[in-house]
Amino acid sequence: MTLQPEDFWSYSEWLLRPDAFLQSAILQGIVLAILAVLIGLIIGYLLAAARKGPSEGFYSVARVVRDLFVFDLPGTSPARVYALGRLAFKEAIRRRVLIVAGIFVVGLLFAGWYLNPNSDDPARLYISFVLTATNYLILMLALFISAFSLPADIQNRTLYTIVTKPVRATEIVLGRVLGFVAVGTCLLVPMGVASYFFVTRGLQHDHAGIEEIEKVPDSSGQGFVYVGKTTYDRNHFHTFTLFEDEEGNLEGVTNIARGHQHIITRKQGSDDYVIERPLPLTARVPAYGDLYFLDRTGQRTESGIDAGYEQRKGGYGSAGLERLIGRTSEAKRIEFGYVEGGSLGAGIFTFPNVTEAKYVEDIPLQLNLRAYRAHKGKIDRKLRGTITLRNPDSGAVTNARTFEVNEYQVDDYRIPLVLPGNDGENNRDLNVFEDLVTDEGTLQIELRCLDRGQYLGMTKGDVFLKPQETSFAWNLTKAYISIWLQMVMVISFGVMFSTFLNGSVAMLMTFVCVLLGFAAEGIYDVRHFIDSNQSMGGGPIESLIRIAKQDAMTTELDVDALTSKVVKGADTAIIYSMDAIATSLPNLPKMLGTAEYAASGFDIFGSLLGRHITTTLAYFLVAFFVSYFCLKTREIAA
């Protein structure tokens, strides 16, 4: 999982974007809301004017707006909303929607057969499986129950008996949405619990025993440790080192294999080694620092060496409105910066808020680096780098510690609180908090590559401290909250479309909205290529021509100049309008992305969840008002 710059934004940074207000969520929200209101009023007026004439049409639109604020919003009664919500809930339950939860559980029972037992990281496989399955199942269900209910009520005329009671349109919409959300929640909770047990139980296993064990002298040369490996079970084994305590008991932890560890103990005087169940899953809470580089001459630069095809992966990302007016074309995607081995080049991470309270025993550092071999070197040996801790104020620096790079997996290091080094004048043991952390609480960590002519790649998100861990259960809950929010969004849209379309069309429209949300990043990319004049297949028409002619996508379009102009012009218009639509729709894949956090064992950031909650609320409100106007102005009996 490589985090993008925007993933690091705090909630307020996301909302306000202090340096680039055009990218801010709040601006996007306000503009979208104003646009929605304007478009709504214009369409409403045109329809009313066509029916009643220009002046009468104006009054009728004005009357609806007045009704909303004077009567319907203040008159909305929680009791009626509750009654209508309960009805929608009962309707869904009596239509046996809960069967879906049963299907899910049955699916889980059989899923174990199909999940690859040889996976390197079974936890990731299990977690992403349950989350993806739940997500799509729930969204599909939300789509169905929300889009068909209101049209069915209009068709059966059951709505007649409701709207002839003092029921506001606001209450009908709210009641529906809340009722369906309640149904979805009733499904999600058991699914979440089932998922939790599926993952934790699925990962449980025992090792039959110890394969081999040997008593070897320890690193200090004064004592002994026991080194060995476990039996081969479930397609893996662990190596371990056991330490003897004063009473003669042995205890130790195995290495990480397949993403987990076991504790091994042996009581004094006993011959039996006890291998415990895998340590429970946790979620890492990372603390990120800022990254800058030193080039090969030791000069400070902001980006590392481009090892090829790093910078070109540009694109707009989700730059909010700034993209819509075509202002930014700077790369929004993160790229790896590389550090050359055997030179003065380095990557320097500055971590804020390193305090004693957070790091009591040691400083856990996690690395997920890329290795780029410019020459073959010793192919059987991993690339090596060094870690140095440094105090930028006093110049104190520790001795470099060598490490080997394991690509595509997280290397876990624990930096002790006392390290040999130089305080600027003398060589001595340095205390991290006294000598290396500055008065403002920042700590610098410097990474270099040792192998001459080879390169180490790093990004801001790939080197982090891990001050704490949270429980897997809570992290899974957060992933489920994210699914729940997506469900609320789909339900709001489904209900909105069902206020003026019939059931299947409403479902289709909601589905298209979800699809466009999913395709948003792709659309942004195409627009980026069109804006920056890159030949990458072009828009829909051009792509179609290329498919028909079997042309590669990077070649020039092989048609005459005029046709090319027309096609490209039309494509630009299509892509720009699709971009505008996609920008105004919720970005569901971003929300789906939380599953990746949970699967990678990262704590889902609170700010990320906060952003999702805000977005969901905003879209819910827009959908609510649109639904209100549609329901209010339509003839129920027509």
Partner: protein, 330 residues
Amino acid sequence: METEQITATQEPATPVATDRQVVIETRNLSKIYRDFWGREKVKALKSLDIEVQQGEIFGLLGPNGSGKSTTIKLILGLLFPTSGRVLVFDKDASETRKNERIGYLPEESYLYKFLTAEETLDFYGRLFDMSGEHRKRRVNELIKLVGLEHARHRQLREYSKGMMRRVGLAQALINDPDLIILDEPTTGLDPIATREMKDTILNLREQGKTVLLCSHQLADVQDVCDRVAILHQGELKELGRVSDLLKVQDVTEVHARGLSDDAKQEIAELIKRHGGELKSIDNPTATMEELFLNIVRESEARPGARRLSTAAGSETAAASDGAAKDGDAS
């Protein structure tokens, strides 16, 4: 000899409405149905002007497609007028707040089939923001009123048509409305249920409520309505008091009991002498409704086979007797 009785057609007990409050008023009300492209399909209603006054039973009468249902939907705000206005309790029909005082029984009871009678009434009670206790009391009252105590916990999908109508009526009355709008209240009901429905309607008027109903069951309208509007092809053809509309001014009706043939002869001559024209002199027939209700009442009092009147064909009588005997034997 019995005294002679001269009867005019039954006169409702209500006084003439002059200074009473107007509950529903339509002004130049028109409705044109259009298709998707805005082209005119049907002129369902043309410039309707009616006033319904407080405390009366007002009937909208007309054949299918005459605009009765359209009028009712316009009054309820389920449709919007193409031109003209509807005022209900002096409020525009599109206002939701007027519904606080309205009860509506739709043409067919459009109720949620997955709810039980009790849940249905409780649900509609909640829509009026009634407190829990008040709601519970009202639900019990209404279930009793419409006689569904035995079926209160059954889902409506299991109900017969008549039972559905009763639940529908109960939900229309849940808020103790001042104006009750009934769309074809007696359609599809058996004669007993029809009688009960009519009694309920008359009872509502006694409580001072206003009732607007539309129907094409002429007999029902005649029995209960104070005033009727007759619609045809979307136009108002006649409007007035039922008694006035139906009174035949130049015919006199005499009902008498125990007259001999001679006496009848004498009366006929008397009429002739006074220059009148004798149209018929005959034994009156009871209405089918009366006959049916008598039979049912009798059957409830004394269950079992009933001896058929001699007027019936002897074959059917024998067959029925046989059936009745079988019934007795089993």
